[in-house]
Amino acid sequence: MAFTIKVKVNGEWKTADVEPEMTLLELLREQWGLTGTKLGCDEGDCGACTVLFDGKPVNSCLVLAVRADGHEVVTVEGLGTAERPHPLQSAFEQHGAVQCGFCAPGMLISAKALLDANPEPTEQEIREALAGNLCRCTGYTKIVEAVKSAGRAMKSSVK
């Protein structure tokens, strides 16, 4: 039996008919075509599917779509645009923090959650905040550098 749900996705309310076992990740990717969020394991182990759920990072492969009814979800597509990229997106590009890029959408979302809560994180805080997002390509060095630099950029633009 399908349920009709209403979710605020990247600032816009959307409705969908979903089966009870459908995950939020499937809803985003298969039904709404928001393929920016990635499927890396389907078991909550890799963080490729991270989205913001009411401002908190969650693994969307572990969240049932019905649970999102009435809630707010932000995916990588909601972070910025080509004309107005989020400082994190620019920093990831400029620092060479992305290689194959499969981890990047989830990584960016976790980093955004961190910077929203803590604009001036220490290196250790950054590493801890991103510990649930696996990356096989970069060794994380440039990712940590990029998050640091985005934090600085966001702070100076606020002033």
């Binding site: 389907d42 182990d45 194959c100």
Partner: protein
């Protein structure tokens, strides 16, 4: 040969005195010279916006989803496969077995791998049957309805055991040892007899997986003219096309293989996996068919890194010069050859280390076991032998009371050194790297 001159010319700005400059082709002149510059990857902007399309982000109208039934045993005979019950599941459109495959074998060196196992399974990642359905979930459920009768066979997991004459043969009647490499230079036995010190050790490494964050994914579709297009996460499209054409028994020109950006490879996406299954299902149903590996399938049904057993014997002078090295490598080659020939070859060639050693005997063997396939993985056997030869170097240094850096500098290859295979080496920067790393690290030489 002389170095190419990469001219670091001053930037020319339009209207600069003395220069007749018209419109520059870009608004940005900062792109010169091009080589040596820290330019961001050109796809990154699409990646960070979530816009870059990986294979699993693509779909076509009417597309079906495929799933493969994997073996319940690591080694068994298949007595019977029956897919009829799976076909009754609503939403299932087609099911195939080994009987549907025109040429049921492939592999880059030995064509010893079936697309779907027919008489026998050799590891738990072997596929036996596949279904195409309107959703992944339905395909998955239908797999449970497939009936397979097995006759279990003794399982061999240890490569040393697999090498024994009386071991169960995984590819009967052939021996389990399926490739060998041998390199000889000088007279190793004589040099060992003359050495001041002889050190003998045995090292082992484990099986590991590439763990690309993106799992294998492909879509197959035939056009009305009988041409097949496969969109896939394969890093070697030319080889994939050859393999697919051979399996499907169509001319290579009727197969088109397209890739986009891969979500990691590391050697794990260098050959076809599920693509022939998708192509056959697509042909049967007349619809595009997609197949995406689960994380578990990545581990059991794609290639992995060869575990190695490595025996090292070295003869050294009192001053620390290595005058003889004997190496015996045994690679656990998993159930199928895949890139084992190359892996073992590179491992054997590199196994004496980057050292000027006049007397060398290197032997490499790779053997079948009932484990997942071992194939190409970043380093092709080099990380394994490097672990052995560099641990061994430290043992030798320790036994002689030498500093680890010193013994390496003493034996290291230099410009013009002759390799284990007799090649004159050029562009040898080994000592430069030793010294640069030691300096940055703050390495203090300690001798006893």
């Amino acid at each position: 040969m002389e170095r190419d001159v990469i001219r670091k010319v001053p930037l020319v700005k339009p209207g600069e005195p003395g220069m007749i400059v018209e419109e520059a082709p870009t608004e940005e002149l900062a792109g010169y010279p091009s080589v040596g510059r820290r330019i961001p990857r050109r796809d990154t902007i699409f990646q960070v916006l979530g816009q870059l399309k990986y294979i699993n982000d693509l779909s076509f109208p009417g597309m079906l989803y495929a799933k493969v039934l994997r073996s319940r045993y690591a080694h068994a005979r298949i007595l019977r496969v029956d897919v009829s019950k799976a076909l009754e599941v609503p939403g299932v459109v087609a099911a195939i077995t080994a009987d549907d495959i025109p040429v049921n074998s492939f592999g880059p060196s030995l064509q010893d791998q079936p697309v779907l196992a027919k008489d026998k399974v050799r590891h738990m990642g072997d596929g036996i049957a596949a279904v195409a359905a309107v959703s992944e979930q339905i395909a998955e459920e239908a797999l449970e309805k497939i009936v397979v009768e097995y006759e279990p066979l003794p399982v061999v997991l240890d490569p040393l055991e697999a090498m024994r004459e009386d071991a169960p043969r995984i590819h009967e009647p052939r021996s389990n040892i399926y490739w060998e490499w041998h390199i000889r230079k000088g007279d190793v036995e004589k040099a060992l007899a003359e050495a001041h010190l002889v050190v003998q050790e045995r090292y082992r490494t484990q099986m590991v997986e590439h763990v690309s964050m993106e799992t294998h994914s492909s879509i197959a579709m035939w056009d009305a003219g009988g041409r097949l297009t496969v969109w896939c996460t394969v890093g070697r499209i030319t080889l994939a096309r050859t393999d697919l054409a051979r399996i499907l028994q169509v001319p290579v020109s009727r197969v088109r293989v397209v890739s986009t950006q891969l979500g990691g490879n590391f050697g794990g996406k260098n050959e076809i996996t599920i693509e022939p299954v998708l192509a056959i299902l697509a042909k049967k149903t007349g619809r595009p068919v997609k197949g995406t590996y689960s994380r578990k399938e990545e581990f059991i049904a794609s290639t992995t890194r060869h575990p190695f057993i490595m025996e090292y014997t070295s003869g050294v002078t009192a001053e620390g010069r290595i005058i003889a090295r004997k190496v015996r490598l045994i690679a656990d080659g998993g159930a199928y050859c895949s890139w084992s020939e190359t892996t073992l070859g590179k491992a054997t060639i590199l196994s004496a280390g980057p050292y000027d050693i006049p007397n060398i005997a290197l032997d490499g063997y790779v053997v079948y076991t009932n484990k997942p396939m071992t194939g190409a993985m970043r380093g092709f056997g080099a990380p394994q032998v490097c672990f052995a030869y560099e641990s061994h170097m430290d043992t030798i240094a320790h036994r002689l009371g030498m500093d680890p850096l010193q013994i390496r500098l003493l034996n290291a290859y230099d410009e013009g050194s002759i390799s284990a295979t007799g090649q004159i080496l050029h562009s040898v920067a080994l000592k430069k790297t030793l010294l640069a790393a030691a300096e940055r690290f703050g390495w203090e030489v300690k001798e006893r």
